[in-house]
């Protein structure tokens, strides 16, 4: 099986949770980083390709892995399985809008981190178009799902979604308590999903970091992410790309190397950004918590 994925976690939810789940369940997974989002059906990443079957979307990929008997949830009771579904719904409803906002809509984050990072990895001329498209889709999704009355301006919507996200993080922290994983001592689907959502917030260095700051105060969630990163995504010092390994039992080794490379990218991103030309600081009034900034946000947003 191979999983195609954009080489960095610019999509906060997909990708990392699929890989995390695969690692938990012991499924042999080759992670191929792709440079062209359009080569996947409907530009949807991550995509799992097993023999002839192509599956996109994390939930379906997890179902597929389960049917192939790579099941990290084997030990769970029926009630715990139901809890998994409920918590995943909570993550999607309460945490995802704020994540999308942090990565794709918040102007300073988008311009100084997400767009250059993303654009540096996909070929010209897609790099001019795709980041902007994803940014617009993210904003669209946020406004359509959360933007009705009585919230009438973008700043009010933003305030609400961050409030919801922080509450969601608090709930997760209470649920996790002092255990190592959400259901005892072995990780399951829920752990994979939570990790997939939290790890980008935790690790990526953004200029505007209110969600990250809140997360860092919840020490058990940080410990949870660190545990998974060190146990399942071993970080190595060098990330040299694997030369063609065709031996049958080199799958796991290849997997480890490719995943390490991906994890290293997160760490190296800081370096790359410091070396690349910086955008001049922009005076965008929405970023200051001043009253009456309603109209300025859409006007000041940069188009790619």
């Amino acid at each position: 099986m191979s999983s195609d994925q954009n080489p960095q976690k610019q999509e906060p939810a997909p990708g990392s949770e699929t890989q995390a789940y695969a690692k938990f369940a012991g499924a042999p997974l080759t992670v191929n980083t792709i440079n062209n989002s359009w080569s996947t059906p409907k530009a949807d990443v991550p995509v799992l390709i097993s023999e002839d079957i192509v599956i996109s979307q994390p939930a379906k990929i997890l179902n597929f892995l389960r049917k192939q008997r790579y099941n990290a949830d084997y030990e769970l009771s029926a009630k715990q399985g139901a809890d998994t579904l409920a918590y995943i719904a909570l993550l999607e409803e309460k945490l995802l809008p704020a994540l999308l906002h942090t990565f794709w809509v918040e102007a300073e984050n988008y311009c100084s981190v997400t767009k250059p990072w993303f654009a540096s990895r996909i070929p010209f001329p897609l790099s001019l178009y795709l980041p902007g498209k994803m940014s617009r889709e993210a904003l669209n999704r946020i406004l359509l799902t959360r933007g009705g009355p009585p919230l009438y301006s973008l700043t009010e919507v933003e305030a609400q979604i961050y409030r919801d996200a922080k509450e969601c993080l608090n709930l997760l922290s209470k649920r996790l308590g002092t255990s190592q994983f959400f259901f005892g001592n072995t990780p399951t689907t829920l752990d994979a999903f939570v990790f997939g959502f939290l790890a980008p917030v935790y690790k990526v260095c953004f200029p505007r970091v209110q969600l990250q700051e809140h997360l860092k105060q919840l020490t058990n969630l940080c410990r949870f992410c660190d545990d998974i990163l060190t146990c399942y995504f071993k970080l190595t010092v060098t990330g040299h790309s694997p030369s063609g390994q065709d031996t049958a039992d080199a799958n796991l080794q290849k997997l480890t190397q490719l995943v390490n490379k991906e994890s290293n990218l997160i760490e190296k991103m800081d370096d790359n950004l410091r070396k690349s030309p910086q955008h001049p600081p922009r005076k965008i009034t929405t970023l200051k918590l001043a009253a009456g900034g309603e109209e300025s946000s859409p006007l000041n947003r940069l188009s790619p």
Partner: protein, 262 residues
């Protein structure tokens, strides 16, 4: 805080002709919640309830001089007045309750909206005639199309537009399975006492079970789980029977599709 007044009112669309599946579910959930809190409220049906609501969604309650819409804010409002169903829960249980409420909103409510507004047969035969029924032509068509366009945009944004009806029904099944497994053999989700989660689940499941649509596929999915139907019956008996004849619960059982004259 002021005490709960006697003349509190809950507003929704017209029961017999206008209200749709998802709105009926929401309204029933709020009614169940208020009954569980022992707070009297009378149900008022108005064709323009949606437009009166501060958030554009029904139901909304008019209490004293305040107007609050949707279950979430209503629960908060009632809590501020000193009534709460979930005070006895510990932190982990509260987190679980909120998660399950999101599950119902995420899957059940979205599936209901999909069925109502994205399934062409249902739209044509049930939704459009009902939604615009209080208004003359061409206003009825215009309003229906406008609403349909709005809902379809939202479905597209969250990725449900590409789903087929079978996939949506499968999601409903998955959700019901999760609810059934969580409920188990207990009378309520958090054992002895009902909470807002029970009210929400009741609102949706009872409406699905008693609403007649083009096919019975949706209600069959719920009927597969005996403990869920028993749960609905239990709450209906405890909180809705013995009230006046046209309480929303029993009235929705008379919801009939309009194309019988074909």
């Amino acid at each position: 805080a002021e005490p709960w007044p006697e003349n509190a009112a809950l507003y929704q669309q017209l029961k017999e002709d206008q209200i749709l599946l998802s709105d009926n579910a929401a309204s029933l959930a709020v009614q169940a919640f208020l009954q569980m809190c022992n707070l009297p409220v009378r149900v008022v049906c108005r064709a323009n309830a949606e437009y009166m609501s501060p958030s554009g969604k029904v139901p909304f309650i008019h209490v004293g001089n305040q107007v609050v819409s949707e279950l979430g804010p209503i629960v908060q409002f009632v809590k501020a007045k000193g009534h709460s169903l979930s005070d006895g829960l510990d932190e982990v249980q509260k987190a679980e309750m909120k998660a399950y409420m999101e599950l119902v909103n995420n899957m059940l409510l979205t599936a209901e909206l999909y069925l109502q507004w994205c399934d062409d047969v249902t739209v044509e035969e049930i939704t459009h005639p009902r939604y615009g029924s209080p208004y003359p032509w061409p206003l009825n068509r215009i309003l229906s199309y406008q609403k349909q366009w709005e809902i379809r945009r939202k479905m597209k944004a969250i990725g449900w537009a590409g789903k087929s009806l079978e996939q949506v029904l499968e999601d409903v099944d998955q959700c019901c399975q999760a609810l059934s497994q969580r409920l188990g053999t207990q009378p309520y989700f958090f054992n002895k006492q009902p909470t807002e989660l029970d009210a929400l689940v009741f609102g949706h499941l009872f409406t699905i079970l008693t609403t007649q649509l083009i096919t019975d596929e949706l209600s069959e999915k719920v009927k597969n789980y005996g403990n869920l139907t028993a749960f609905c019956r239990r709450i209906e008996q405890q909180y809705f029977e013995g009230h006046d004849k046209d309480s929303s619960a029993t009235a929705s059982a008379r919801y009939a599709k309009r194309s019988l004259l074909r």
